[in-house]
């Protein structure tokens, strides 16, 4: 299946070529007859065979002359090509590095579609770690407004690669990750779609396991970021960057030819995107390397986003938090205040007259307990879910006015609790579950953010569970993508950080809007209480979900057997130390210590790591990595000489040598090692760990053994 690059392009065809700064990545662009086409190679190996580019436009009843509905697929000639080089270094507000280099060579091809008297530009940016391209639509007489019916960008793979993928779905990203050859995607999805009523669903493993909102669109449809590995050792990752005013892209595989084609998320009437020139698509990215670590260290996605648009970012800060949450997820307590109500009407239902159910955790006493725990454990915020009225009938009723985001339950004294938190040096974190009733949320949003300002909240976790209202819209369509960004920009006016759950998977927008400090957008720790996450889950996600931005994964579950404190029979699919390791491999400026205070109390020695750990970095060095197998990383805490090292592995276990080359020469460091015990195992013996301390210096080495589903962490504190 391996083609030589020289053979990719038909003899006699004139191709434009642009190389990465180091020369390893080569993009060639040419017209296949009149169709835009590109190839991509890495060190001479084929990454993308000839792949067509173009867009299909929708019929538009308002377009008198049909101009607006002629496809942008063929009939092109090359009118102009421009090449340039760019090299800048920028400083992220938070992230893996103190500074980021953005260095690429660019090729911009202007294409004339003479018959329609219009032109488009396809722009390629080629980095050492891959490339991005996008379509640009200059303002012009014959192309002012148009509707995209489908984007037809191809990514023609050179073989039947191994792939770490999640089923493509317009409404959920929470299906279990799959690891198969490309050729096995169809069967893996198909057998789920072919299920008959009563057939068993493996909630932890099947490709499609259901969700309160789900729309699978194809038997070979997968979402991005898609991580692949070729048989000759190339790591390839396809994703997108800067998805603004556009629908989220999926990939649909032609599995006879191993060609992916872009598959956008439609709106309620089946169109994808409504465009007004001048405008452009998001960047379509293909990262490539022969070193898996490059997939994790690359900032290609962020680099393809616009610089920060928020002038004063001083109020954006890394946040370790705990929350009134896991106890409800596991099922011991409730978001609801009462069991008496068949339904709720905002403004009419009088909760003060309802009998409390005794399981409502967002009450003054328990919230104060969580605040006390946060204050004692170096956590700066406390998330409280279930604080506001409406939870009795919030989900799956197609209800419009579910929440008002402002009225607390009778047992939640919002003023007192915020004052109490502030007196302890802690803030409460706001929670806005929208129930996907988006119109309703937008009506209340400004008041809701103002309420946050009034009481001193500076961060909100928002949620989009269930089918979207406006009805027929999908979670990842242009309409909703605009909504998510609207929330972020409105929140910025109120100096509020946003962590949106069930929202579209990120595409590096946090570079531009760094108050977007987190997203869910994948299967989080909560699933450990539902059906489980496979042990390899957090050594896949950094290659896939984290490409576009951090995930609010909410690790730190120390009591891995939920039945010890609840009716829930599930177990966590990592060791306790593996939970700690997730804080380092699943990097991000927002990290939750998700377990109950009483469970942390049982392992206070391990809790010391959470108290100590940094979550924002001046540097990150990946020691080793392999998708779905292991990731080991050393990170230097922002503004210090302290390092935190972590490794996480799949069910096979892993051995790794930590070489302390990264430490400052001549300096000594107090290293605390949190390791799986010898007989530890995520399933049979997850809470067996050993904590040791030693002094380390540059040049030292420590061999670490990670248990199946386990890992290790180290805090390396400069003396």
């Amino acid at each position: 299946m391996i083609l030589l690059a020289v053979a990719l392009i038909p003899f006699g065809v004139m191709a434009q070529e642009v190389k990465s700064p180091d020369g390893n990545v080569v993009v060639k662009f040419y017209l296949d007859k009149t169709k835009p086409t590109y190839t991509l190679t890495y060190k001479g190996k084929t990454v993308c065979k000839p792949s067509h580019l173009g867009l299909t436009l929708a019929k538009d009843k308002h377009a008198n002359n049909g101009d607006r509905e002629q496809d942008l697929l063929e009939g092109f000639t090359v009118a102009d090509t421009q090449t340039s080089t760019f090299d800048e270094t920028w400083t992220p507000v938070w992230g893996q590095y103190k500074t980021v280099r953005n260095n690429y060579n660019e090729l911009a091809v202007t294409l004339d579609q003479a018959k329609m008297n219009r032109k488009i530009v396809i722009r390629f940016r080629v980095y050492n770690e891959g490339m991005g391209f996008r379509y640009e639509f200059p303002q012009q007489k014959k192309l002012n407004y148009f509707i995209i019916k489908q984007e037809n960008s191809e990514f023609a793979m050179a073989g039947d690669h191994m792939a770490w993928w999640i089923v493509g779905d317009y409404d959920t990203q929470e299906n279990p990750g799959q690891t198969t050859r490309l050729s096995e995607i169809r069967n893996t999805i198909g057998k789920c779609l072919d299920r008959q009523p009563g057939d068993q669903v493996d909630g932890m493993s099947d490709a499609v396991t259901g969700n309160s909102s789900t729309t699978v669109f194809s038997e070979t449809g997968v979402q991005t970021a898609l991580q692949m590995k070729t048989d000759d050792g190339l790591y390839i990752n396809i994703h997108e960057a800067a998805c603004v005013n556009y629908a989220t892209m999926h990939l649909n595989l032609d599995d006879r030819n191993m060609v992916f084609e872009s598959a956008l998320t439609p709106d309620a009437v089946g169109n994808m995107c409504y465009m007004q020139t001048p405008c452009n698509t998001p960047w379509r990215t293909v990262m490539v390397s022969d070193d898996a670590r490059t997939m994790l260290s690359s900032y290609l996605i962020y680099n393809l986003n616009e610089p920060c648009k928020i002038e004063d970012t001083s109020w954006i800060h890394p946040t370790k938090y705990n929350g009134v949450w896991w106890e409800m997820i596991v099922g011991r307590s409730s978001w609801d205040y009462t069991d008496e109500l068949p339904s709720v009407r905002l403004g009419e239902t009088d909760f003060a007259k309802c009998k409390p159910n005794g399981r409502h955790l967002a009450n003054n006493k328990d919230v104060m307990r969580y605040i006390d725990f946060a204050a004692a454990n170096n956590l700066s915020e406390v998330l409280v879910e279930g604080w506001n009225i409406g939870w009795e009938d919030w989900a799956n009723r197609w209800k419009y006015d579910v929440f008002d985001f402002q009225t607390p339950y009778p047992d939640f004294d919002i003023k007192m609790l915020n004052e109490y938190a502030h007196s302890k040096g802690v803030r409460l974190m706001m929670h806005h579950e929208t129930s996907s009733s988006v119109t309703n949320y937008e009506r209340y949003m400004d008041d809701a953010y103002s309420l946050m300002n009034k009481y001193g909240y500076d961060a909100v976790k928002s949620g989009y569970v269930g089918d979207i209202i406006p009805r027929g819209e999908h979670h990842y369509g242009q309409y909703m993508n605009n909504h998510y960004l609207h929330c972020v920009t409105e929140a910025a006016k109120h100096k509020i950080m946003v962590n949106a759950h069930e929202a579209t998977r990120p595409t590096g927008l946090a570079r531009t809007y760094p108050n977007l400090v987190g997203n869910e957008s994948a299967r989080g720790t909560e699933y450990e209480a539902f059906s489980g996450n496979k042990p390899d889950h957090t050594v896949v996600l950094p290659f896939t979900r984290l490409q576009g931005g951090p995930m609010d994964y909410t690790p730190g579950i120390f009591e891995t057997d939920l039945s010890t404190w609840s009716q829930n029979k599930h177990k966590i699919h990592t060791t306790l130390v593996g939970q700690l390791a997730d804080y380092l491999v699943m990097w991000g400026p927002l990290q939750m210590a998700a377990d109950l205070p009483e469970n942390y109390a049982k392992h206070d020695d391990a809790m010391q790591f959470i108290r100590d750990m940094a979550i924002d970095w001046d540097d990150s060095q990946y020691i080793d990595a392999e998708p779905g197998a292991y990731i080991t990383v050393a990170r230097k805490a922002k503004g210090t000489d302290n390092w935190f090292v972590g490794g996480k592995c799949n069910e096979a276990g892993h051995k790794v040598t930590v070489n302390f080359d990264f430490l400052e020469k001549g300096r000594k460091y107090e290293c605390t090692i949190y390791a799986d015990a010898k007989d530890a195992h995520y399933d049979t013996n997850p809470k067996a760990y050993v904590i040791t301390k030693k002094v380390v210096k540059q040049g030292d080495k420590i061999n670490m053994v990670e248990a199946p589903g386990g890992g290790f962490v180290m805090s390396v504190i400069a003396k």
Copy 2:
């Protein structure tokens, strides 16, 4: 085709009966086997033959046990019946009468659907002028949330009645009115739907003439209010009252049996309404009388609405206004500021740098001219359209952020102009064209209303031209009906009166929210500049469109030949005096003097009527009326002893004797009569009129002759 009432109900079936207070209207309810069924008679004549009631529910993927998707059509037994009598007199904030009597007998039937273990209530209210019924859904274990797929309320007509109808459409109400037998509806609509490209459209007469947003759903679908007349002289009108949180109803005719069935407006995914118990449908109304005047004087629709929910209504006032509008409609000037821009981006496009097109009428100088005219002519407000940026590309582009409702064009000094107006005792009237980008409007709404408060606006004309965003929603669906009411209630918080154009036809909600002072919701005067309104138009609309609330019809066009001052070749299809008469037959608290100041200057003697006329009433007495033929009415100006009398007729002309019985005994009145000249004719001699004065007293009579397409008005001022 006439059935005796006694034969309507099968022998041996137990029926519940409820009569109007005067005994003329009789509703019988019974179960046809297990299906709810009613009949309606008036003075023993059949109005509705046995008609089934019920609702079809939609499949709901979230309903685990299927409870929520079992139809509410049959399987019922009568569990309980309650009858009661109601009699109150209430005082409207504005309208035809000082006080309104609300007197009905009620029958509430509780129906058990034993198989589903749930119950519903059908409630009938029977008035002297007809009846209303609605479905009520009490909160109950087995009926908490449900989705209505269709409402199946039947209105079984007893014959092939004459009907004054407008084609049923989910997105426009602006098609020309039709006058046909029920049996001719199918052919009348069908021949429009069967048109081939290039076929001629008669824009003034055809049943379907197109609109920037239109969705015809059936060849026998019509909208309400539907006015009919039976061969034995009954006037029957079907409409609805209090359409809140529900989709607007159309009627679909089974023209073999002459049975109408309710046809709701669907949402983007084909469902009609999302319901949460306790709740109810709007009232379905059947008005009936053997006197056409009763159709016009009845307050049945308002009486079926909830009492006023606005505590302080002192800021709601009748408003005579002129506006920067007709000159744009006719085409001599523009809403746009510049012709230079292919498109606009809010916040980016700099209009100060654009070349003005010289036709932008909402400029300081012209607006001041209109203010001066208003001040000199007893008009209290001046509507200004085209004041705000965005008009260059506002329509039919599927554009999202079309307007911000806040930023004036460079030549409109919002502060100065409002101050200038106020110095003359006049207010400006705000204009919010949404371009049907509803999500965008809601985002800006609070700021837009606040801007109005800042500058002293107290009324807004809003518009919904084009297809709705959220896409797939229709103008008259539940989603949009909720939006329109949201605007009204939010505006009330700002003490703003609302006049929404292209919004759903009203259903008497102005009783509850009297700041809803007007709507368009039908073919207005603007069509005289497009393709024309038939001469009978304003002697049909009071029977149909005005049942649910006043129309901002914008009459008063004195220069009936548009070509005298513009490139527009159209003529108005009334006489000049007919335009004056529209102010009285098309009653409402908001009345526009729509023509240009210079056209009024040419007929200042006729303008005197507009200066003098009242637009809010203590009493209204209909002298004669026949749908589509003529309407004559005498109205007593609120808080005075002055009367204004008007008659309007169709192309046949009309003669009527005005008997001044209604005047106060012993008092003398100065009567100014504005009459069509003898040779006046709407088409050939429209501007021929005669103004005479005489003193009148109770008992006097004046014979009036109305020209074809003409009318007359009188101001009768107490001495």
